[in-house]
Amino acid sequence: MSAITDLGVKAIRDGFRNGDFSAREVADAFNAAVAAARGLNAFVVETPELALAAAERADEARASGNLKPLSGVPLGIKDLFATKGVQTTASSRILEGFTPTYDSTVSGNLLAAGAGMLGKLNMDEFAMGSSNETSGFGPVISPWRRSDGGNAPLTPGGSSGGSAAAVAARIAPGVTGTDTGGSIRQPAAFVGITGIKPTYGRCSRYGMVAFASSLDQAGPMARDVRDCAIMLEAMAGFDPKDSTSLDLPVPQWEANLSADIRGKRIGIPREYRIEGVPEEIDRVWEQGIAWMRDAGAEIVEVSLPHTRYALPTYYIIAPAEASSNLARYDGVRYGRRKMPGQGGLTEMYEATRAAGFGAEVKRRIMIGTYVLSAGFYDAYFNQAQKVRALIARDFERVWEECDLLLTPTAPSAAFALGEKSNDPIAMYLNDVFAVPASLAGLPAMSVPAGLDKQGLPLGLQIIGRALDEQGVLDAGLAFEQRAGFTARAEAWW
């Protein structure tokens, strides 16, 4: 038998049920893998004792015939989710030491479904970044390296960089991610794994540290499409504690999963062909189109005319919401406080926030504060909200011509640490293909498509209608079967 850590979520769940191994063996194997991979800096907190405790409960449940959907499966949880009794910082120093007294709904749902927790995964600070370099706890190093013989450390993408690295390095079979403007999909593409952002409102935001509330959405990242379907089913569901939670039953995504997509119309948006994108991205895109055609789908060229405005729209709306959400970090109720030598309450706020926030977070809070300030609200924020409506309308119209969209996930393969960190706008461009679906609240998934000339993974994105996660997952499965992506990073850590 292959090593337990080579197994994904479904294989562990089923193997455990079949008696091939105990939950304890699974937890031991992953706990050891996590401890041996500290060179990746994927975890900010390791919780081997919690993984073991869940495994013991799973082994007892199996003995007494009380198995739960995820019994025996250990998972990594992004540090954006509040976890009872376990430090939760959103990888920001301003929250260092914060130990929630409650669980987020999403991570709580996973634990209630029988899953164990391996630890809290590193990420860009408050999910603001595309390379994991803004983390207050140091960048995550991708398990992947270029095939040029150089050992330049690469980014696993962001903001769910620790999540992506953990799955790719086989130190967690599945993980939670969150996606505000591509933070599940871009890292999934960078490390050759699968990740889905569901429709806005499918997963509760309760207990998830808020970045941009009209965009934030949790989702799973795992080795393949089926594992994502299994996890998403456990994570999603109506939650009265989140006013934007959708009061709808959770579909049986796994049971209904089907690679039969004959007759589906798959749109190829012409505006996603942009200048300056490496030829290899176009090549995998063409290959992906051929695979979809082979699966029996009808390929149609479509237009989403406002695509080019999605990124600047996002970089007004997301910072505006962030400036409001992050006002709560004031050194009074949780996290760190810094008292200046003199002054009163205001000076304490200012010193606390100056010391606790990193450069990118400060930049976004200030942009957000500016676009919401008197005299500029209409020109910036209101205009962006109107353009957002036009972007959503583009998608509404395109669904008259097709059922799904197939696009690249990111405009490049993973880049080296430090390569873009001094140029905010170059960094923002990473999410050029991911942001439109976020602004429209649509389900979107990245699936691995192949390797580039340097041996690095490239991903393609499947976008679906609101609430049609099933269509996205089905097309993803048909894609995955044809791509046959089995490449993995050689262990060096």
């Binding site: 009074v332 002054g343 205009q383 909200q385 036009l390 609240g441």
Partner: protein
Amino acid sequence: MSVDTATVRHIARLARIAVSDGEVEALLPELNNILGWVEQLQEVDVAGVEPMTAVIPNRQRLRADEVSDGAIREQVLANAPVAEHGFFAVPKVIE
């Protein structure tokens, strides 16, 4: 539109983030680059378009008007940097 150093200081003050002179100098071109880049939204014709506030149609729910929480003072204060006598404690604001 672009900002000057006085505006950067004003924004920082509104955002309650202390900034040094050096940070203001560094932030000035960064913020202007970003603001110059988002400026392109002004060219979009939005006549008759309502600003979008909810991406997925959803209704505002009301819950029953009854107490569903409380009596967890210890939990609420558990993470406070300074808590005294069952309250959050801050520097004196009234002389």
